[in-house]
Amino acid sequence: MNALRSILLRRETGIAVMIVLFVIAVGIAKPRFLSLEYLRIILLLTPLIMIGAMGQMLVLVARHVDLSIGSTQAFAAMVTAMMFKFHPEIPWYLGFLVSIGVGLGLGFVNGALTTLFRLPSIIVTLGTLNLYRGLTFIISDARQVDRQYIPSALKAMSTTSPILGIPWIIFMALGVALLTYWFASHTRVGRQVFALGSNPAAAPLRGIRVNAITLMVFSISGALAGLSGIMYASRWGFVNPSNTGAGFEFQVIAAVVIGGVSINGGVGSVLGVVLGVLLLGCVSAALPLLGIPGTAQSAIYGAVIIVALLIDRSVRQRGIAALAAQRARA
């Protein structure tokens, strides 16, 4: 009974229920939504966000935030796409190394600025958001890299499927999620990220190297944004200096906070974030079907962030109230 209750009370259960209710509600209005075709649409909407969200989750758990991931995605994608354009002889799979490596570098810069000068990461990454975006324009001379330059093997990853008609990139996103789960829940350093976010003041007393961990989470976030960059090229077949990655950070932050990651650090689960991403995917897919213009998306992300903040607050307050009551009894 107790085990059942604790499962029901989990944040992840709440999100899952929300997804089911949402799907049923839309399905009643528009039965087409329940078709396999729509499942495919939903799934194709999610992989980029999923990958970005895994990095952002770690950053938020460590009590920071990374606003620059959209620009990081664009820059990494652009570098990779231009490499393909000017050096078509390079094998397409090396693009992954380049894109991830570039993202890692940019993320490292974020982490270094944050730790070295003890600055709030939000302001640092607001700066690098624009810096990296500007760099993307500069290296590309403000020109899009078109379809014909993107290797077709890379593009095929979004269209061909190893199994069940589900494209490769979805499996890749799932792979990243599984890796993140392993890292966050089953490695020492992963647990140290949670400890740091849970009580930064006490972390050094338990031998946790705060600066190293901070650098690491920003680097991971950058590397995953880089990975999402080459996947953008695969999914859409082009890289555009202004469209690629625009608003990506808000989608990702919305998915992460709705997935139950606390902005106060220390709390978050991969499962929750995956469900958060799926919920956003369902909403995005349902909008055009319901006749709501795609322009409403951004507002929904904003509302989602705020609602999630309020939920997070009420969860926290309930905890505090429970503690206070306990003390009053004692």
């Binding site: 490695t187 020492r188 647990r191 007393l205 503690l323």
Partner: protein
């Protein structure tokens, strides 16, 4: 490590001294801790017992002196080394990572290995369960720490100490937040650990508990070790005498002020979990002391009266009129002033000028109509500086550049400019050197003579005795004594301040 001969003390401290910013808080302490004993450290607030404990645990490093562990000289530069040497300090509010599970909190920082090394969840949980069973505590070790009671969090800390096979466990006032039943459990465990040959250092104010639990006691006073003795050889009266036995310094006695009507009246003030049923009154021209140990709820009562953290029930009356103060601005308007305990946190604006700091509470006076009159402000501030003899280079200097005593004077000046009828002073002379203290005493006397009602919260008994017309004493959230000047002695105050078992049960 090879075990030394059985009679070698576990810890042998010699000549341990510690200074903070040229103030010596611990002086040449020699102390042996034997294996398999529970050793109590007793003393007034600031006597040095906690500093000594923190030196053992690597939180502070001694300015002078040596430590030997099992006869071998050791250096303990930080808590992690202390842990490795088998020394664990359990804070009153235990260190915890509230979002991690109990089992993880037990393991964190103890195990070493590759950062990508696997976390052995199953083994970790099993070991945590075993430890908890060993301690006889029932809790779900897979649940997060958040939401555990303080008692359970302490148990986790003790389990940590066991897991790292600590030979010395220091408990700093562990029983203060516990219920009597939890205290019993803690004691049973402590005794068992002792019988296994571990050493436990127990810091507490509760004599009953010390008597019930400990084998030997060491009394600290003013940074000196006064005595170490078998507990059986001392009576309560002996211990209290050792704790307060310092000579009364030459404090200026207050000039007699004419005592008028009741200015501040507090009835049945209660804030659950912090203090309850506090009632007293302070008359015009009267200095009423509020004594007690740190954590007795004195500051909380002051904060409640002033509206910083209002009480949930009870009434406050100012000059005979019942008032409902929800925030400090209302209190100030009613003629209350509160010089708070922690100057750095709730007193000064460190980077702002002395002048601005002094005039912060009188916006209407310096800025009639909202616009600041520079000349007026300067005149008021420099008059205060002259009156209170604040030493500074310039009124425009950031207040952070002044010495602690002068910062405190500036804060007092801030409140005097509001012309309060009731003045609450919370540890006004803490961290201030003797000469400036004398000035403060003089000023407090003058303020009372001028017809103000003064509530003086202080942990320094001689200060209370010398200045106050009456002394109230709080213990564990309750008022336990109201002693007239004629009857006030250090013994009387101390015995009311030290919690006795009867109160411990009631709490």
């Amino acid at each position: 490590m090879a075990e030394a001969a059985a009679d070698t003390p576990l810890i042998a401290a010699r000549g341990i001294s510690k200074s903070f910013a040229q103030i010596e808080v611990l002086r040449d302490v020699d102390l042996d801790l034997r294996r398999g004993e529970i050793h109590a450290l007793l003393g007034e607030n600031g006597a040095g017992k906690s500093t000594f404990a923190k030196i053992l645990a690597g939180v502070h490093r001694p300015t002078r002196g040596t430590l030997k562990l099992n006869g071998e000289p050791v250096e303990i530069p930080n808590p992690i080394v202390a842990q490795r040497l088998g020394i664990t300090l359990i804070h009153q509010e235990p260190i915890s990572f509230p979002d991690l599970s109990v089992a993880e909190n037990l393991v964190l920082g103890r195990t070493r290995g590759s950062p990508l090394g696997r976390v052995p969840w199953a083994q970790m949980t099993r070991e945590a369960r075993e430890l908890m069973d060993l301690l006889g505590v029932r809790m779900d070790v897979t649940k997060p720490m958040r939401g555990l009671s303080i008692a359970d969090q302490q148990m986790v800390e003790i389990a940590r100490a066991l897991a790292s096979d600590s030979r010395l466990i220091i408990m700093d006032e562990p029983t203060a937040p516990l219920t009597p039943k939890e205290v019993d459990t803690l004691f049973a465990i402590a005794r068992r650990l002792r019988d296994e040959g571990r050493t436990i250092v127990f810091i507490s104010h509760r004599l009953e508990e010390v008597r019930a639990l400990c084998d030997r006691v060491t009394v600290f006073r003013d940074g000196n070790k006064i005595a170490t003795e078998e507990i059986g050889k001392l009576t309560d009266a002996d211990i209290i005498r050792l704790m307060i036995g310092r000579p009364l310094r030459e404090y200026m006695h207050k000039s007699r002020a004419e005592i008028g009507e009741v200015a501040l009246k507090v009835e049945n003030l209660t804030l659950p979990g912090t203090f309850r049923d506090v009632s007293f009154e302070v008359k015009k021209g009267e200095i009423v002391g509020l004594g007690g140990l740190v954590g007795a709820g004195r500051t909380d009562v002051a904060r409640a009266i002033f509206g910083v953290a209002p009480a949930t029930s009870g009434t406050v009356s100012i000059n005979g009129r019942p008032v409902d103060i929800r925030e400090p601005s209302q209190a100030i308007a009613l003629g209350l002033a509160y010089v708070s305990e922690d100057r750095a946190v709730s007193g000064i604006f460190r980077t702002l000028s002395v002048e601005e700091n002094i005039t912060a509470a009188i916006p209407r006076k310096i800025a009639p109509g909202g616009i600041i009159r520079g000349a007026l402000e300067k005149a008021l501030a420099s008059e205060s500086v002259r009156k209170l003899r604040i030493r500074l280079a310039s009124l425009r200097q950031p207040i952070g550049e002044l010495s602690g005593g002068n910062q405190q004077k500036a804060i007092l000046a801030r409140w005097l400019l509001t012309d309060p009828s009731v003045l609450i002073l919370d540890e006004p002379t803490r961290g201030i050197d003797i000469g400036v203290k004398a000035e403060f005493y003089e000023m407090i006397g003058e303020l009372a003579a001028g017809g103000r009602a003064i509530l003086l919260i202080s942990s320094e008994l001689p200060e209370l005795l010398a200045l106050c017309d009456r002394v109230l004493v709080m213990s564990e959230g309750r008022l336990t004594a109201n002693i007239a000047r004629a009857d006030a002695t250090q013994e009387a105050i101390m015995s009311a301040a030290v919690p006795r078992s009867t109160q411990a049960v009631a709490a």
